[in-house]
Symmetry: C2
Subunit: 412 residues, 2 copies
């Protein structure tokens, strides 16, 4: 029997009528001949309520108890979804993480999968059950405690089950109808993509297209799980949404697939850093320890024996970063002339697997920005992505100009 | 290490500040040198919310899914209680039913205990944990599904753990400060009992003194678990509340311990029932099938070949009972002359282990009622209880008169 994994996030199961709506989508796939594994999140708001109780009770909480409390939200949804399916005459049962069992590491609140044995769920499919409703976001440690996977854990659960059970596809139902060439709020020319390669999706996800959690895309790429993002609030069919898949499945070779942005970036530059082996580690080690999420890093040679080091981080981490840098300087970890902070920048990126084989994409990008008189402050590139920092006030203009320049409004 | 079981009901853990209050009581027992097993209910209101969702989703719900959803309420409290204790520097961890594991039958929503192995929790006590916080009301079936125990399940869990772990005592914290000689709302002379025998508590519990669930008292009696009922909203010490214990532990021999009542009773009499072997079964079988909770049953010989049969049931089951009786008559299950219904009666009972060895208690009771001109309609007696049905309007008067007659306001 072919098998599908279907995942419904918190807003898709926010109340009983939405659970019913989601169940109808599951039933339709059963009628098409699929066995289905449904992964559910907690009803929206419930996880926050539970987290709030834990944090009020114990600011430095025992993560094992945090996990035991917080995981209960998904368990409630799983039971209600199974009941809803039964009401629709679909043979279904719920599975909590420990019942599958979903073996994870013991890193509570950020556990990773160790294994997902198929035996128990397969036995129920063999008995005639058509749907296994699995509580997402959770697992079981070797010590027998409940673990949770951390942010985006339900997406990751869905992909892991799709990999373990050899699912034909993993459908992620959410509150958007797919992945767009850029944010439709910035340009109405934004177009929904029918397909996108894993690598492109990874770059877009980590750049702020909040459709899929990065970790779930990584996992899908590793196990070649075909992921589909689609809306739980629209009528959908087998062609709805955006398929995230191996690039081999994408016939048409686009140069650029999308334009991503990140609004609240800060640029910090250390001028005249005494240049010696290990100085980068000396700078970025203390920043990591201070919990600063350093994104871009650029190093230029300035003059003999000295270098300039520029990096970006979220604006709300600037104070923490400054403190870490000054403390490191004070204890002689490294020396520099001056620290320049610019917390008024935004990051714009163009992403596309096609640029690997197409020269001139960077030049085309820089020309489009120059035509709008937008000054580029920092540039970094990877194989399938070019990112720049610019003044924040030009962000929307830059996205629109690049979307036009690469003709993303036209289906390729 | 001596061990205590402490149980906190829904109102005692209704919010984070009440959980903190309960945890303080646990900490005090740890400081006295006890290892403690804490049994918790769901925060008040939470179980109703979950039950509501299940019933709205599926009126004829799959009880396995019902149990999986509803048991999550206790799991949340268990985690929060463990965290609260940790904040107070008490080494504690939470246990869900399947983690202990609490083995039960597979009768979902009314499961019964099969066994509670001590190994896992004992191992944690040996590691230095002082408190095991166990989610009440739940267990694990042989099929690996979550079960719940039905009404009063958390009290029963507490007693079962006290029996399994050989606890010195099982303290049930609730919103009343003990067991009274009668309802203080009816007479201010009602007095809190320091001790009461299991048998007396059983009679009082099933007669409407809603302090302890009957099943938990039965279990305590069978395993000789000393139960203490006390308030979670007052400062309590080792002498607070009421101890429910074996009668050997009760030095003073009271004749009567308490006066119980049940307001909404109906009396139904079948006149001139054709008397033959099996007629009682023919009458009460259909009533049981119709879900009528028959309480008192009295049979008198009237004339040769005929008898009168009287029974009582809750007033809101009268219509159901009439229907069952008339249907049985119509299909010839038995014959009778007339059915007389009186739905304006109340039941009054005096309870006391002392009456086993004291003649004249019944006569004293009837005399006290006669002195108030209260007519007795039905009488039944057991070894330690005498119950009468009277007109409902005399209920308060009768309770007060009996409380005075047996001098229950005076400590014996």
């Amino acid at each position: 029997m072919p098998l599908l994994v279907m995942k419904f996030g918190g807003t898709s199961v926010a109340d009983l009528s939405r659970i019913k709506n989601a169940a109808a989508k599951v039933k339709r796939e059963v009628e098409r001949g699929y066995d289905v594994i449904v992964i559910v999140s907690a009803m929206s708001g419930k996880t926050n309520e539970l987290v709030g109780w834990v944090e009020q009770t114990s600011p430095l909480f025992d993560a094992r108890e945090y996990d035991a409390v917080v995981a209960s939200g998904e368990n409630v949804t799983a039971g209600l979804m199974a009941l809803t399916l039964q009401e629709m005459d679909v043979p279904a049962r719920s599975w909590q993480g420990w019942q599958v069992p979903i073996h994870t590491t013991s890193a509570h609140s950020s556990a990773r999968f160790v294994s997902i044995p198929r035996d128990n769920i397969d036995a129920k499919f063999a008995e005639g059950f058509k749907v296994a409703v699995v509580a997402g976001f959770q697992g079981l440690s070797a010590e027998g405690r409940i673990t949770t996977l951390g942010r985006g854990g339900s997406d990751t659960t869905a992909v892991a089950f799709a990999a373990a059970f050899g699912a034909e596809r993993c459908d992620i139902y959410t509150d958007v109808d797919g992945v767009y060439t850029t944010d439709p709020r910035i340009t109405e020319k934004a177009r929904k993509l029918d397909r996108i390669a894993f690598e492109e999706m990874l770059e877009l996800a980590s750049l702020g297209a909040k459709v899929l959690q990065t970790r779930s895309v990584e996992l899908a790429m590793r196990y070649k799980v075909r992921l589909r993002v689609l809306s739980s609030f629209e009528d959908t069919d087998e062609n709805s949404g955006t398929l995230v898949c191996d690039e081999d499945e994408i016939m048409e070779s686009r140069v650029v697939s999308g334009v991503a942005y990140s609004r609240d970036e800060a640029k910090m530059t250390l001028l005249k850093v005494a240049d010696r082996p290990g100085v980068a580690a000396a700078i970025f080690g203390p920043l990591a320890e201070a919990g600063v999420n350093v994104d871009m890093i650029v190093q230029n040679i300035s003059e003999e024996g000295f270098t300039d080091m520029t990096f970006s981080c979220p604006t709300n981490q600037v104070l923490r970063a400054e403190k870490a840098i000054n403390e490191a300087k004070a204890r002689g970890a490294y020396e520099f002339g001056q620290l320049i902070v610019d917390d008024g920048v935004a990051k714009i990126s163009v992403v596309g697997i096609g640029m690997r084989s197409h020269a001139g994409v960077a030049a085309q990008m820089f020309a489009a920005l120059a035509a709008e008189n937008i000054n580029i402050k920092v540039i970094t590139t990877s194989e399938i992505k070019i990112s720049v920092l610019i003044d924040r006030k030009y962000m929307e203009l830059a996205v629109q100009a690049l979307h036009d320049a690469f003709q993303l409004d036209k289906a390729s």
